[in-house]
């Protein structure tokens, strides 16, 4: 589907955001006037209205704004669910590049048109990613997938994010400093994602290191047809989550896929100390034989040693029992600050412990059933509760290390995919916890 109006200039894009801001204001007005007549009305309709307007605005934008929508949709813990549903829709659609521009991109990258390089090349995109699109080609009888990036993505990221800021401010209910950190982190990651040569390097690295995980499949990449804006790999068969579920896979197959995904993240976090792939449905291909293909390595969060030992200790119940260790972690993670009064420190610590206990729940069982909606709902609820806490909002300083942002996002994303997949996963193997306990005991002495 060709989109007929791509907002072009910076001014025009800015106008779109302003328009949304006005619309949201309008929705609030509508909500409160309705509420005067019908006091029983809850905020669901309001959130729904807001989400529709924000979604409409963002879906007309390409590149980074779309990516922000994607990121927001991952942050289920911060956003009311109504927003998330809308944003999830944003994950699969962006307006396509014209045929001549594809040719032009190839000529700039390799000096040749795609038709001269490959035996066949389908000019119609088979798939749109947020900052580019995927084309099908063949070479030497092999089916290939070629990802082509929209021009000027990297250049427009900065200006886009500046404009998203006021909207995000209203949506996320964060204080300014916190938002600043958030936006900075998002920006640097987005810029990395625009470099396909980097993605190429990373995908090689991770697929070698995760090769032994059962039922996990990676694809072959081609260096000679890869540039900053073009990435060539073997075509991988498989279905995206929603589509896969429509085929009614058996519980056994769901569990197999869920397990592969869980093991993949366990490996990344605890062994590689870097999370290479977003747990967002568009990055995985599921197959009826219970194997899972990983296709996107654009976004990598490296986990520093310091952060690792502190943050992941929250997942070790033995450590959470010790008040002094908890306090040390909270301070290191900048969740509480030395300048806070003891009462505020206590309130925030309590809330945080409650949240991590909930997040940790799957780790406490040998096998955990992610299909349990009650559990996932509890996470959303608590997330909303925490985001509304006055003690957090009033704070002039940002709370929570910005690294935690990506890790949280990873876990929420992972849990929500496993939830939709209704998978039972063996989560009890926590061989990494000994190492963490050791670390903190040596610090306490």
């Amino acid at each position: 589907m060709e989109q007929n109006s791509i907002p072009s200039s910076k001014v025009e894009r800015a106008m779109r955001f302003v328009k949304t801001g006005v619309q949201i204001g309008g929705n609030y007005m509508k909500h409160y006037s309705k509420k005067m007549l019908d006091p029983s009305l809850n905020k669901d309709q309001l959130h729904e209205d807001n989400a529709t307007d924000v979604y409409n605005t963002l879906s007309e934008l390409k590149g980074s704004a779309l990516k922000v929508a994607q990121m927001l949709s991952m942050e289920k813990n911060v956003l009311p669910r109504q927003y998330t549903n809308k944003f999830q829709m944003a994950q699969y659609s962006a307006p396509p590049l014209s045929g001549p521009l594809i040719v032009q991109t190839f000529i700039k990258s390799f000096g040749k048109a795609p038709q001269e390089i490959f035996e066949t090349f389908n000019m119609k995109a088979s798939n749109a990613a947020s900052i580019g699109q995927v084309h099908e080609a063949t070479l030497g009888g092999k089916k290939l997938a070629i990802k082509i990036q929209y021009p000027g993505v990297a250049e427009s990221i900065k200006s886009d994010l500046k404009m998203v800021k006021p909207i995000a401010f209203r949506l996320l209910d964060m204080n300014e400093k916190e938002l600043e950190k958030y936006i900075k982190e998002v920006e640097s990651k987005l810029l990395e994602e625009t470099d396909y040569e980097l993605e190429f390097k990373r995908s090689i690295e991770i697929s070698t290191r995760c090769a032994q995980i059962p039922n996990l499949v990676f694809t072959e990449y081609y260096k000679e047809f890869t540039s900053k804006r073009v990435l060539t790999m073997d075509w991988m068969e498989g279905m995206h989550l929603e589509e896969f579920l429509k085929t009614n896979p058996s519980q056994e197959i769901r569990n197999k896929i869920g397990q592969a995904m869980w093991d993949f993240y366990d490996m990344q976090v605890h062994k590689l100390r870097a999370v290479h792939a977003d747990p967002h449905p568009g990055n995985f291909l599921m197959r009826s034989d219970g194997t899972l293909g990983v296709i996107d390595f654009g976004c990598v969060k490296e986990i520093s040693i310091d952060f690792y030992y502190n943050y992941f200790s929250l997942l070790v119940p033995e450590l959470m029992k010790d008040v002094s260790i908890v306090k040390r972690i909270m301070l290191q993670q900048e969740i509480i600050n030395k300048s806070d009064t003891p009462e505020v420190q206590q309130i925030i610590t309590d809330a945080f412990v409650k949240m991590t206990n909930l997040l940790r729940t799957p780790f406490d069982y040998e096998e955990f059933d992610f299909g349990n909606n009650e559990y996932i709902d509890k996470i959303y609820e608590l997330g909303e509760e925490v985001s509304k806490m006055d003690e957090l909002k009033k704070s002039k300083e940002g709370r929570g290390s910005q690294h935690a942002l990506y890790i949280n996002r990873t876990y929420f994303g992972l849990y929500s995919i496993l939830n939709v997949l209704q998978a039972k996963v063996k989560t009890g193997v926590r061989d990494w916890s000994k190492d963490l306990i050791q670390y903190h005991l040596s610090k306490s002495n």
């Binding site: 007929n4 791509i6 072009s8 590049l97 014209s98 045929g99 001549p100 521009l101 040719v103 032009q104 991109t105 000529i107 700039k108 048109a113 038709q115 000019m123 021009p151 000027g152 990297a154 250049e155």
Partner: protein, 217 residues
Amino acid sequence: MKSKKLNADIKTELITQYILSTLEQNKSPENVYLFAKKMGIEEKEFYTHYSSLEALENDIFRAWFEQTKITLETAKVYADYSSREKLLAFFFAWIETLKNNRSFVKFMFEKAKNHMPQTPVFLKLMKEEFVKFAQQIVHEGIDSKEITDRKFLTEKYGEAVWVNLIFVIKFWLKDDSNSFEKTDEAVERSVNLAFDLMGRSPLDSMIDFGKFLFQNR
């Protein structure tokens, strides 16, 4: 210069030297006599190829245009393109052609700055050919229903596309983004806009309705 050389070769040589001389001196050769002297030929011989320096300048851009068209038409996909895509492809290929001589193009546009928005003298010949080329694409577009045939206006579309081309060239000359990515965007968007304007729009329906009212009241 050896007289054995083919006419076309000498023309190419004249063009190459003209560009070189312009770039090195940062000014155009002042008259035919000086340029011929530099080339080591007689003034008389110059006139057998070009009537004036201006004609030579015109021929530079005409030759590039010709070259771009040939590159396009030899590409396999080109024949399957829609009119919109053909025009897009031309714009991209044209900028690729100019890239080899960006400094010279920049110099020429600077020189003509004071006469804008009129078509610069050195582009007269190319403009003629380009408008013909664009008009042909427009007619194809009318046949394929991509473009709406509007009386009187349709014949001016070629000119409008020319204005679009000049816009893109000027945009490119000012573009400082990596490998001119912004220019790619400018091409994509301006050509799409042009085609959307040439396609059927609410205005057509309004005129149509107006005519109906006028004839039937």
